[in-house]
Symmetry: C2
Subunit: 335 residues, 2 copies
């Protein structure tokens, strides 16, 4: 593959002049510029970003490590991070850790070895999240997005999951529901944990029992679905269901369909997220909407601010508001 050396030879100039023409760093006469540009075409030169990065000590890239892109919230975040970073002249390296901590570590190492300017990470929920370990691995500024412990020792962006869940469940309670089931994903993820905490607080505060009503580890639509089958076939089935994330909501809807239970008449439903499907089905599903786009763009903003900062700055935590969208999937309980 052609190098600057080849271009220089073909143009009859020095390697430094070629570099100057390509990067427009110093003035080069019109004639040499012409000759260099011709030579570039002639030899089919394509810059070697690897060499450039080595010399410069960094790659103009942001590493983005996330646990999956089938969750529409993560997909939206990734998409936003991508386009925001681009506006600022950075490429984005998306690594999909598939909720697997080992894979996440591998990616962390690999990403870090490519010397990006910074990272944005939505931690995998396979085990306890260790921000210090991440810091050690990645070695550059980074932002923890969405799944961040309250005392995260890094910039972080979250929503108030506890509060959002608390309010959503209270809404169901205010409609008269007493048996409310909850479908959640990984107990190690801070988001899931907080949402379940919010659910429990709301229930306990109203003196309602939750035994047997919480199903964790329902990380796929199928698992959520079978959890609903179990829940609804118990001797005292819930009259309302609360999904702590998108796939759980989808699982609930599909399960109720299969069980021929009508929503909201027979079962009321609230879901976190609620991607496209929540607005497609009839009735639309009442949801807790997360500001995924805003979270993504704020992540980029915080990261770049820190990278550009001349003096040390303390860790910042942004807690963005969720939106509770009442649609048609909840009905008052007469009993």
């Amino acid at each position: 593959m052609a190098t600057m050396r080849d271009v220089a030879k073909a143009a009859g100039v020095s390697i430094a002049t070629v570099s100057a023409v390509i990067n427009k760093t110093t003035k080069v006469s019109a004639e040499l510029t012409q000759r260099v540009n011709d030579a570039i075409k002639e030899v089919g030169y394509r810059p070697n970003g690897v060499a450039r990065s080595l010399k410069m000590g960094a790659t103009p890239t942001i590493a983005c490590i996330l646990p999956g892109i089938t969750n529409p919230v993560f997909a939206e975040m990734a998409q936003t991070i991508e386009s925001e970073a681009n506006k600022k002249g950075y490429a984005v390296f998306v690594c999909n850790a598939l909720e697997d901590n080992a894979l996440q570590d591998k990616y962390l190492q690999f990403a870090s070895s490519m010397r990006p300017v910074g990272g944005i990470i939505i931690p995998a929920a396979g085990s306890e999240i260790d921000v210090e370990a991440i810091q050690r691995e990645i070695g550059v500024p980074f932002v923890v997005l969405d799944r961040a412990a309250p005392d995260t020792k890094a910039d972080s962006i979250v929503v108030d999951n506890y509060d959002a869940a608390f309010n959503a469940v209270n809404y169901l309670i205010s409609l008269g529901h007493k048996r409310i089931g909850a479908i959640a994903s990984f107990p190690y993820s801070f988001t899931s944990r907080d949402r379940i905490r919010g659910y429990r607080s709301a229930m306990e505060q109203s003196g309602l029992d939750t035994t047997g009503l919480v199903r964790e580890n329902c990380s796929t639509v199928e698992r959520a679905q079978s959890a609903v089958f179990e829940l609804m076939s118990s001797q005292n089935p819930p009259t309302a269901l609360f999904a702590t994330f998108d796939h759980a909501g989808l699982g609930i809807v599909k399960a109720l369909n299969r069980l021929d239970l009508r929503m909201p008449d027979e079962v009321s439903v609230i879901t976190f997220d609620g991607g496209a499907w929540a607005e497609a089905i009839n009735p639309n599903v009442t949801s807790v909407r997360q500001p995924a786009t805003q979270m993504g763009s704020e992540a980029v903003r915080l990261l770049l601010e820190r990278i550009d900062a001349t003096e040390p700055m303390s860790h910042r935590r942004l807690m963005l508001p969720t939106e509770f969208i009442v649609r048609g999937s909840c009905a008052p309980l007469f009993s």
Copy 2:
């Protein structure tokens, strides 16, 4: 940041020995191995992949350039590519070109400059797809996925879009429908083009008129939705709708909901793809399912085969079968 030189100094050995310990390329005595490993910890050494890539002439990475990840089919492909490549020891660099050709070119250049071993690209549909230009930019073996011209001068993986659409529309015709609307996205994408061609063939073959019934450029749910509003409020509205991709199907469903038109009684619907929502709504939507996972893994396979090939091999084209899943969204037309 600590380098091998620092490690070598701390361990009292040469740089070559450090490299040997790290890469296990040659035998190093137990004692030195120990000293080197201690030194690595001591100085906090993290390998510089950039330097390594420069020396090795390539980065153990596959560049994956696609037009978006909100389309569930693309998301699934990306996810599969990621995990398959990983199994083979490659990282994946996902670049989201957002259906923008200029951005795609930028990514192509950037990706290529990072010297990946190969690329997998789902071309943006913003304008005519030029595989030769892609080849020139990227300079390494690559596979064109999904949106590939019949005579693509590269390995390519597609489904028979024409045939799938033809059959789907014929199914509607066989149910007695005569006014069938089609909602499509970018006219420049080969997939959309072929699906519309299939639709037109089926219609023409049965002597049915298509004037005013085809809506292209409905690339978002919203646009698809308003196309349906227009279509259904025309003086002679269709009795069936055919969506050539996921978002169009979603737009149709939402629009019909809003218009209070019942599916399938008042309007029959078939959609390509049909992500989660198609199985969530009642009735489930009859769909043309693409083998996205298989397409992703085959893409990786073809790419790696070509990379590992010792002698030149001609371009291969895989055409994978689609699946026509009859669900409840189509009804016979009595009139």
